[in-house]
């Protein structure tokens, strides 16, 4: 396939799955006539009609609950959060009903549901439109949480999420929609629970996801030029974490740096540190370093915004510092 933009890769995933299974439908704000706030569903309304690409009123908690009810009774809804931050209004339905209802019902019902949409810190969108909800939701039992980062994994992961029989929160990043890549012509699916080894190396394991993967890869150039050999892992699955891949890497490098865009307090990195200590403490040659966004509402001013999130140069320095301590 010729070069495909990430948002088009997502659309292709939805289109293919809708063609493959009549019970799959999309609902959300402006997904239909308008084509989605980031054009992920553009053209699908014309193809599938207004019940399968359902424009909803601005009522996040209710349309999310409605999707849960539809999923319980046999459909496979895909909710688009116009911006993932808006799903704070749907927290109750995502937690109590998408996440917990299957267990609470003793297995009476399944909830095959995808909740996807743009999140992360964009370009000067202000605090409310720059939220990273993955950490807020990670404690909810029964949810799977996935973050895509390239056109290739976006498509393969979204297709798998749609076929999964569980509720999947699927995070896209506002600044990654225009990434381009050649995609395979043939159909492919990617596992939801597998991390992706972006670069093999032996010095230090860098754990990252979503847009920060690209900040890490920017840091790789200066680092490798100076002879450093980091291993980079894109977590992909934020819940459950893929400790097979993470653990194998730690047993090789014995050092870990986490680079994330969510806030430090109670973040994905915080969970990683705790779990790594639980499982691999004896393997570590240095304390795990956690590089996160500042614990502040994302400021509007561009400079301040840049100071809020981790920059490639800081990653370079962190790697050097950690390896300077090498005994």
């Amino acid at each position: 396939m010729a070069e495909v933009l990430l948002f088009n890769a997502l659309r292709a995933a939805i289109d293919e799955e809708m063609a493959h299974d009549d019970t799959v439908f999309v609902l959300g704000e402006d997904v239909g006539h308008y084509g989605g706030s980031y054009k992920v569903t553009k053209g699908l309304y014309e193809k599938y009609g207004d019940l399968r690409i359902l424009d909803t009123p601005i009522a996040e908690n209710s349309f999310t609950g409605m999707a849960v009810g539809a999923a319980m009774t046999g459909l496979r809804p895909i909710i688009e959060g116009m911006n993932m931050g808006f799903l704070l209004l749907a927290f109750n339905q995502i937690s109590n009903n998408a996440g917990m209802l299957r267990y609470t019902s003793g297995g009476n019902f399944r909830i095959p549901l995808v909740i996807r949409g743009p999140g992360g810190v964009g370009r000067q969108l202000g605090a409310e439109h720059s939220q990273r909800l993955e950490a807020y939701f990670q404690a909810v039992p029964g949810l799977k949480i996935v973050a895509c980062s390239t056109p290739y994994n976006a498509k393969g992961l979204l297709k798998s999420a749609i076929r999964d029989h569980n509720p999947v929160l699927f995070f896209e990043h506002v600044l990654l929609y225009n990434l381009k890549a050649d995609l395979p012509e043939e159909e492919y699916l990617l596992p939801l629970d597998k991390a992706e080894v972006v670069r093999e190396g032996k010095d230090v394991t860098i754990l990252t996801y979503s847009r920060m993967r690209h900040h890490v890869t920017q840091a790789l150039k200066p680092l490798t030029e100076e002879g450093y050999d980091p291993e980079v892992i894109d977590l992909i699955s934020l819940k459950p974490l893929d400790f097979d891949t993470i653990g194998a890497s730690i047993c090789k490098t014995h050092r870990v740096i986490i680079v994330e865009e969510c806030m430090k307090t109670g973040g994905i990195g915080a969970e990683l540190v705790a779990s790594i200590n639980d499982r691999y403490f004896d393997e570590l040659d240095a304390p795990v370093v956690r590089m996160s966004s500042q614990d502040i509402p994302t400021p509007y001013n561009g400079r301040l915004e840049n100071l809020t999130i981790v920059q490639p140069q800081q990653i370079v320095e962190a790697v050097k510092e950690m390896l300077a301590l090498q005994v």
């Binding site: 439908f25 009123p57 009522a59 409605m66």
Partner: protein, 344 residues
């Protein structure tokens, strides 16, 4: 005391129901009543735990609505006050009782408890412990029926969903949001408000700007009806019309049933706030006695038969307790079972 709302009157005559129907309604209401009485007993004897909300007094609503629907085909969505909705929906008393005992044979396998009763087999969508959160779920089930019919071309998809909520829930945004969507997409759903005048200790007229809830339908262009919630025949008649509309693809209906709970909010509630006179007044409208009187007046059922029904129901409930008592606890090995779809 605030002026009581005048209950709308309903004139039942001899043609309103057949003997068979009368027996069915009576049995269902007695089952609900005696089941709840047994729950109170078992709760105080330390056999069930947590918050247990009983339905005594409101039986005419559950029976009147659910028995106007197709068992096992139509969907029922309840609240935390869900035991009797589950029973009317056909979930066996023993499975409900076992759930309240936390046993593995319970309808939610001991994972849910009183406020989380579910049965896929009987299309009982829950059991929702948070006020109003079931409304979107019910709306989704109704959307599913429409989708199945119009997108998947299934001409047999004419199921109706009944969504039960309290007066307190109607002040929540999910109520208004779902009324809006249900009309917008003409969904086959009944919003059944059981207005028992109280939301724990919050009197209805202190919580809402327009206490006549059925009127709130009109701004959405939805038909809204008030009905005497202590009269099962009145409830049933309104419900039948709403079910017929929904089944014919004509969209949702809001039904406000004026009713009263004969016990405290939950078994943990000392029930000190509601006045004695209010309680006494409503006790005179006991819906089961009202139906019994009608059945005798119309010569449909004899007194002895009604007594027999009570006795048979009592033994069924006693058996349910025995079943619950003898059932095994969930296997500790299965603590994590049912989190994900894969662990069937």
């Amino acid at each position: 005391m605030v002026q009581e709302r005048i209950l709308p009157t309903f004139q039942a005559d001899s043609s309103t129901i057949t003997r068979q129907e009368g027996l069915q309604l009576y049995k269902d209401m007695v089952l609900g009543r005696l089941f709840e009485d047994k729950c109170a007993e078992m709760y105080y004897r330390g056999k069930m735990f947590g918050f247990v909300h009983l339905y005594n007094g409101q039986e005419a609503v559950s029976t009147g609505v659910i028995k106007a629907m197709r068992p096992g085909e139509d969907f029922v969505c309840s609240t935390y006050r869900d035991h009797v909705h589950a029973l009317s929906s056909g979930v066996p008393a023993r499975e409900v009782m076992a759930e309240l005992f936390g046993k593995s044979t319970g309808c939610s396998k001991g994972r849910g408890g009183s406020m989380h009763l579910f049965s896929a087999e009987h299309n009982l969508l829950g059991g929702f412990a948070f006020v109003a959160e079931g409304i979107p779920i019910a709306t989704g089930a109704a959307f599913q029926t429409k989708y199945r019919r119009e997108v998947l071309g299934d001409q047999t998809a004419d199921q109706v969903t009944a969504c039960f909520i309290g007066d307190g829930a109607t002040n929540n945004g999910q109520f208004f949001e779902c009324l809006n969507m249900a009309v917008l997409w003409k969904l086959p759903i009944l919003f059944v408000v059981e207005n028992n005048k109280w939301a724990i200790g919050m009197a209805h007229q202190r919580a809402t700007s327009q206490p006549e809830i059925y009127r709130k339908a009109s701004v959405f262009g939805m038909p809204g009806f008030e009905v005497d919630g202590m009269d099962v025949l009145a409830v049933r008649t309104v419900a039948q019309q709403a079910v017929a509309r929904a089944r014919a693809g004509e969209g949702p209906t809001l039904i406000e049933a004026l009713t009263y709970r004969f016990r405290g909010h939950s078994l943990a509630d000392p029930d000190e706030l509601r006045s004695k006179s209010e309680k006494e007044e409503w006790l005179t409208r006991d819906p089961i006695k009202k139906l019994a009187a009608y059945l005798s007046e119309q010569d449909l059922v004899g007194q002895d038969e009604l007594k027999d029904i009570q006795q048979q129901t009592q033994s069924l409930i006693n058996e349910a307790v025995q079943f619950a008592q003898e059932s095994p606890e969930p296997d500790p090995q299965e603590l994590r079972r049912f989190i994900f779809a894969e662990d069937e």
